[in-house]
Each structure stands twice: as C-alpha cells, then as structure tokens.
C-alpha cells in the first residue's frame, strides 16, 4: 500500500504558487492603474516637467494626461544662453525660459564646439564662450573650429613654440616668457613689434633684458611643476636648487625629462620642483613657498596605498559577494583617492549596483579604477542553461548544479551573483520574488502489513540537507530565507518553513 506525502518548502504547494502568479498579474494591473500619471509643466513642489499623479501638479501651469516626452510644452530641447555661450541639452522650454535662455528643439549652430586657445592653455567650447574666456584672461580670441575633439585641442597648445618675447617698455628692454602667437600681439612703447626668441628664457644674458635670476619659485596654471621666477615675474625652468648658478639653466628652456629627478614625483622635496601629477604630486603654494605637494593616499581603509585619482572597490558588510549570499542591507562602495584623502562613493542601494574594479598598467606603474555598475540580476532565474546563465556580457548570474527552482526538471538553477535587496517590509513584491524559491517534493512511503512506514522515493526531501539547499536558493533570489543583515545579525524568525502534508 503506497501513501504519498507532500513536503512543501515555505508554502502550501502548487495552489499557493498559482495564487502568487495570479496575485502578481493582478498587482501589476493595479499598479499600472495606480501609477497613471500626468505630465505637469510645474509640480506643487516646484519641479519642472514631471510625470506625477495629477493632484501633484501646480494648477497655474499646463498639464496633460500623457508622458512629458510627448507633450509640446515639456519636450526636452537645447537651451542656449547668448551672453555666456553656454548650451544645455535635455532642458524643457519652461526651465529654459525661466533662465532667460533661447530654447530650440535641435542643437543650434551657436552651440557647436571648437578649440579656444588661451595663451598656453586651451578649452573646447563654443565661439561665444571662447570670446568670454579670452576677455576674462585679457587675451585676443584665438578660436579654431576645425579641431573637432577635446584631446586634439589640448594637444594643439602643447606643441606651441614658447620663448622669450623681448620688447621695450619705459625706455627699458624688458621681456615676457610666452608663446610665439601671443608675442606677435605684443608691441613696444615706440610701437615696434616685440622680438620672439624660441626656447630662450628671459634671463638669457645674450638678450640683454632687465630680467635677472632670483631664488623665488612659482606655480603656473595648468602645469604640474614648481618653476624658478625671474625678477620680471616670468617663469624660468623647473626649480632645481643645484642649478641656481648654472648659466645654461637660466638661458635655454629645459624639458621635464632634462630636469631633476624626472622619474619621481618629488613630493615634499626642498631641492627639486619636478612634480608629476600622474605620480601624485602637484605644485602648491603655501605661505609664499611653492613645493610639490603629495596628493597620494597612504594606508587607506583596506591597508593599501593609492595614487591620486585611483579608485577601488570596498565591501565591508557582513556576508559574501558574488556567491548569491549578499547580506540584507549590504551595499557596495567605491573609494577614491583625492588630494591625499580617501573619499567614498556609495553604489545604488538595494544592491541595484555593484562595484567593479580593474587595473591599468602604464610605464608609471599600475593604476586602479573602479565603477558602480548596474547589477543585472533580473533575468537570472529564467535561464535554463549554464552557458546562458553565465554569459557575463548580458547578466550577473551563477549556475548552481544539482538543484532546481520550483518543480523544474532542470539539473541546475541560475541565480543572481549578488542577490538584490527588497523592500520586504512593505508591499507584496518581496513575497512574490521570494516565492520563486518555493518547492514541493512528493515523498513516497510504503506501509508494511505489520510494520510501520518505510520511505521509498524522494526520501532526501526529509533531510535537513534538502531544507538547507532550498534555503540557499531562496537566499540567492533576494532578501529571502534565513539571511543575516549587513552587520551580521540573524532575523527574529527562521526565514523559511517546511510543511508536511498528508
């Protein structure tokens, strides 16, 4: 005589599973109805062009029961400011008008970018912006719209000739260390043009100017290094205390590699000002003294040292990552080294983002870079093959063999590597996601004529191991099952239920 007993994990079997599916469908419909939104030109809280429930709209402004993208008044466009030359995309008309800008649906010509040369610096901006920047710096506008990207723009100024620009002022032969182009616009008091000496310093004795060497140092805008300063206030070569008496060092321009300790960052050095931003040092002036400031971070939270600008991932919470058992309330963090300070940046809450990290190897050493990236867990459980499951181009899942979800006959199950966080304390979504972990196991017993029952089929479902395996699946699905929270505490309840029916 055979008797079947149903062992159900955390549920009442098939009927309950079907109920969940129906509930999900109904809830989606209800949610859609409840979420019916109106496009408000302005909300009561003062925000422009938001899709919100109609009662949140400011009645003094326009509103329509459709998405803002399809309305004429909230369609995003380009906002242009003719006084500054600034252009802002994705701006609704009302926000643009409010800022006294000119709104257009397509990008106007005045927003096209070009290379603005500002002495030995450059900016990739619009023509109007270039004119404004040039005026601020007291320079003539030098704009090249043929240069189409920022990198080429920056490189174009690095290749400019620099040298001594000699001219007469107040009956004296003076000098300005500048670019050839800027020297071309400089005139002497007697209106004669200034003379440009490429790669020469103003202190070169052969030029016969009034500019002489000093022990003073200075930082230059856009330059890493500390420079010697001449008596006319011009920059000379990179500060090197051993070269103060060297005539050649005060005559000809020396490159960075020709200067002191070029392979090092020279942070805090009192004798060499050859700072290197990529190695973590930069010229800073404090109490009138310029030195190479150390920007690197030493002995950070994880015990390692990092260069300025490097970023790395940190997971400090309880539980593990990447194995489908991330703790409730846990979060990924990206840490960044900025100016000698370790700054942290959270990835999105509810584990909707995870932190990824890699290292670049350069001639100056390795450089760590991290980023918060979307956790692609959503379609893990519908994958039926290991290859699809572990396709890292598409999703962040892992394949667990020897088990299955629900009553699937597959030999494995695809689960999120980092289980998503759920708002289990409100709504019904957490229940419906966790319910995917419900399973039913039919155990067959045989009853002897005189003896008791004997298990014949699926007997493993009666063991603690089976319950643990089901719990592991449940925990991987989200904040479900017998999980710990981010500080390592267990819940007040066991987190699952094994019910024996029949």
């Amino acid at each position: 005589m055979n008797k079947e007993r149903m062992v159900s994990y955390n549920g009442r079997g098939l009927i309950i599973a079907i109920s969940f599916i129906l509930l999900t469908i109904l809830s989606i419909n209800n949610a859609a109805a409840a979420n019916a939104t109106t496009c408000c030109e302005k909300t009561q809280s003062g925000l422009f062009c938001q899709n919100v429930p109609a009662e949140e709209c400011d009645s003094a402004f326009r509103m329509t029961p459709s998405s803002c993208d399809s309305t004429s008044f909230c369609k995003p466009g380009v906002c242009y400011d003719s006084s500054s030359g600034d252009c802002m995309r994705n701006t609704p008309k009302i926000a643009c008008n409010n800022a006294n800008g000119t709104w257009t649906e397509i990008i106007p010509d005045s927003c096209s970018l070009g290379c603005c040369i500002l002495g030995d610096q450059a900016a990739f901006v619009s023509l109007v912006k270039c004119k404004r920047l040039s005026a601020m710096m007291g320079l003539l506008t030098n704009y090249n719209k043929q240069i189409k990207d920022e990198t080429s723009c920056v490189l174009s100024v690095l290749s400019q000739d620099k040298g001594a620009c000699v001219y007469e002022s107040e009956y004296e032969k003076t000098c300005k260390f500048t670019t050839r182009a800027e020297c071309g616009t400089t005139k002497s008091d007697n209106s004669s043009k200034a003379t440009f000496y490429v790669n020469k310093l103003c202190t070169a004795s052969e030029l016969g100017t009034i500019c002489g060497r000093t022990r003073d140092t200075m930082c230059l805008a856009g330059k890493d290094e500390v420079y010697f300063k001449d008596s006319c206030g011009n920059s000379a070569n990179i500060f090197d205390s051993s070269k103060y008496e060297d005539i050649d060092y005060w005559t000809n321009v020396k490159t960075k590699t020709e200067s002191c300790n070029s392979g090092s960052n020279n942070a805090g050095s009192g004798s060499c000002g050859n700072c290197n931003y990529l190695l973590g040092s930069f010229c800073r002036t404090e109490r009138g003294k310029s030195t190479c400031a150390d920007l690197n971070c030493k002995n950070t939270q994880n015990g390692n040292s990092y260069k300025h600008g490097e970023s790395w991932c940190v997971y400090n919470d309880a539980g593990t990552t990447g194995k489908g058992n991330t703790a409730v309330g846990a979060r990924f963090y990206k840490h960044i080294c900025i100016n000698g300070e370790e700054v942290l940046e959270q990835c999105a809450d509810f584990k909707q983002e995870e932190c990824i990290e890699d290292k670049i190897t350069t001639t100056l050493g390795t450089f760590s870079q991290a980023a918060c990236r979307v956790n692609r867990w959503q379609d893990c459980t519908v994958q039926t093959s290991k290859a699809d499951c572990e396709n890292s181009d598409k999703r962040d899942c892992f394949w667990k063999t020897g088990t299955s979800i629900g009553n699937s006959t597959s030999d494995g199950v695809c689960l999120p590597k980092n289980s998503p966080g759920l708002k289990f304390w409100e709504g019904e979504e957490a229940q419906s996601i966790c319910a995917q972990g419900n399973a039913k196991c039919v155990v067959t017993f045989e009853k002897g004529l005189f003896s008791g029952e004997e298990c014949k089929e699926n007997c493993e479902c009666l063991t603690a191991d089976w319950a643990k395996q089901r719990n592991d699946i449940c925990m991987s699905l989200g904040d479900c099952g017998a999980k710990i929270n981010w500080v390592g505490d267990k819940g007040y309840k066991i987190g699952y239920e094994v019910t024996t029916v029949g």
Binding site: T24, S27, I28, A31, A34, T43, S45, G46, L47, F48, C49, Q50, N51, C68, C74, P76, C79, D81, D86, M88, R89, N90, T91, P92, A95, C96, A99, N100, G101, L133, M136, Y277, F282, R284, L295, H308, G309, S311, I336, I338, N339, E345, Q346, C347, A348, D349, F350, Q352, E353, Q369, A371, C372, P420, G421, L422, E426, G427, E429, A430, I433
Partner: protein
C-alpha cells in the same frame, strides 16, 4: 604697598578693556578708520569693504542650496549637522529614466541670486560713499542706476553702474565702479554644470574623470536609497564648495512593479 599693587592691577584691567573696545571699533568701522589713518580715499576699496560681508554671507547660503536663496523643488538633507534645502538641479520622479534639467545655467543663476540679495546693501554702500566724499568737502552729483554681478575665472565682480561727478577744485567723473572679490566659484560652478549635463544625458557622472584636468578639485557624491544623489563640489585650496542634488536613472528595489 598693597594699595599700589591694587592700582597697578586696575590699570592693567583698564588697558585690556580699552584694547578690547579698540579692536571692536576697528572691526566695526574698518573702512572709515582706514580712510582717517591713511588720508587716501579709494572708492572701489570702500565699496568692496562695505559689500563683501553681504556677498560672503549670501554665498554661504547659495553654496549649500544649489545656487538658490529660496529654492523650490529641493531635498532636505543634513549637511554638517544642519538640515539644508538642497535644490534639485536635475530631477525625475520616475525610475529607469534620465532626469529633466531644472536649471540650465547654474553660473548665471548664482550671479543673479547674489545680485538680488545685495541690491539693497549696494545702494546703501553707494550712499555711504557719497557721504564720505561730502564729509571731505566734495560735492557729488549722480546716483546708482543698477548693479550687475558677474562670475569670472578670478572671482565675483560687482559692477556699480553709477555715473557720478565728484567736484572740489576740479571735477572727476566716474561711469561705474567695479568691485572684485577673489573666489574660485567659476571653476566649481562650471564643473557642477557639466555634472548636471552628464546626469541628464547618461543618468550619472564619473567624478574621477574631472580629476585629470582639475587638480584642486574634490567631488563627493552621496547616493541615497531612493536614487537621489547629493553632489558636493569643492576647491581643496580655497575650501569653497557647492552642493546640489540630482535624481536620475534610479533603480527601484526588486523589479519595481509591485507596491
């Protein structure tokens, strides 16, 4: 002997009291005292000393409130122990969508807000300036028409559009006075504008990308549970900072279909 000691003690207390009063008076009437001591009178310097405290105080508010003195559409957030109203410069109430720009020209707005707040004080400073001239025997004709605040690479410029004629033995004419206050807000606001553009276009911004070109810059991004981001852009040298909020491309907990 005892009396002499007491008198000496009293004298010391008197000296300290006079010194404290003198310091307070110097702080309160610095520009006027400077004029009295040096005898020279620079109108721009006078206006700068008069208007600077007003500008500094409004800048502190604007810097913590996303560039608005009285923001609408803000996030209430704790900054250094105080609840601040941080303006959303880009916002969407929805999930999975990039934000809608709320303020396209942050720099322009910032200058305008300063201008609005200091207008009254500027007028008062200008009247005081005229009185200063008159007290020195000058006759002054002309009024303050308006002021204009502009932010550039070196700082905050306040232009007093005030064509005036100052007459004593001869007449000196001024069309306007420019007051300049050192600040690195131009760079900070430009970066903030760029971050808003990234938020509106891509839904997020990569803060480390700015470090390559701006060594003195520090950007802190705090992500809140609902997807709101609070940005704190500062200059590590001048310690000036600008705080604003954005909500773009947020992800709901779970699938986000059931509530």
């Amino acid at each position: 002997m005892e009396n002499r000691g007491k008198r000496a003690q009293l004298a010391i207390f008197m000296i300290i009291a006079i010194a404290i009063v003198a310091i307070v008076l110097i702080i309160a009437f610095y520009p006027k005292i400077k004029i009295l001591v040096t005898g020279e009178f620079a109108p721009e310097s006078y206006l700068k000393t008069c208007i600077k405290p007003e500008i500094s105080s409004i800048m502190l508010i604007l810097n913590k409130q996303g560039g608005y003195a009285n923001p609408e559409g803000f996030l209430v957030y704790n900054i250094d122990g105080n609840e601040e109203k941080i303006k959303f410069l880009c916002y969407t109430s929805e999930y999975y969508k990039t934000c809608t720009v709320q303020e396209p020209f942050i720099m322009k707005r910032y200058a305008l807000e300063i201008q609005k707040v200091i207008e009254q004080k500027a007028s008062q400073c200008f009247s005081d300036l005229k009185k200063q001239y008159e007290s020195r025997g000058y006759s002054v004709t002309g009024t303050l028409r308006d002021i204009k605040v502009d932010i550039d690479l070196k700082g905050i410029k306040v232009s007093f559009n005030s064509p005036i004629a100052i007459t004593k033995e001869s007449t000196e004419r001024f069309d306007n006075f420019d007051v300049f206050i050192d600040s690195k807000m131009y760079e900070i606001l430009s970066i903030s504008q760029s971050i808003v553009e990234y938020e509106a276009t891509y839904g997020d911004s990569e803060t480390t990308a700015y470090l390559q070109y701006y060594p003195d810059l520090k950007i802190e991004k705090t992500k809140l549970s609902d997807g709101t981001k609070v940005y704190r852009v500062s200059n590590v040298i001048t310690k000036e900072e600008f705080i604003f909020a954005s909500r773009s491309l947020s992800w709901p907990p779970g699938y986000g279909v059931l509530t």
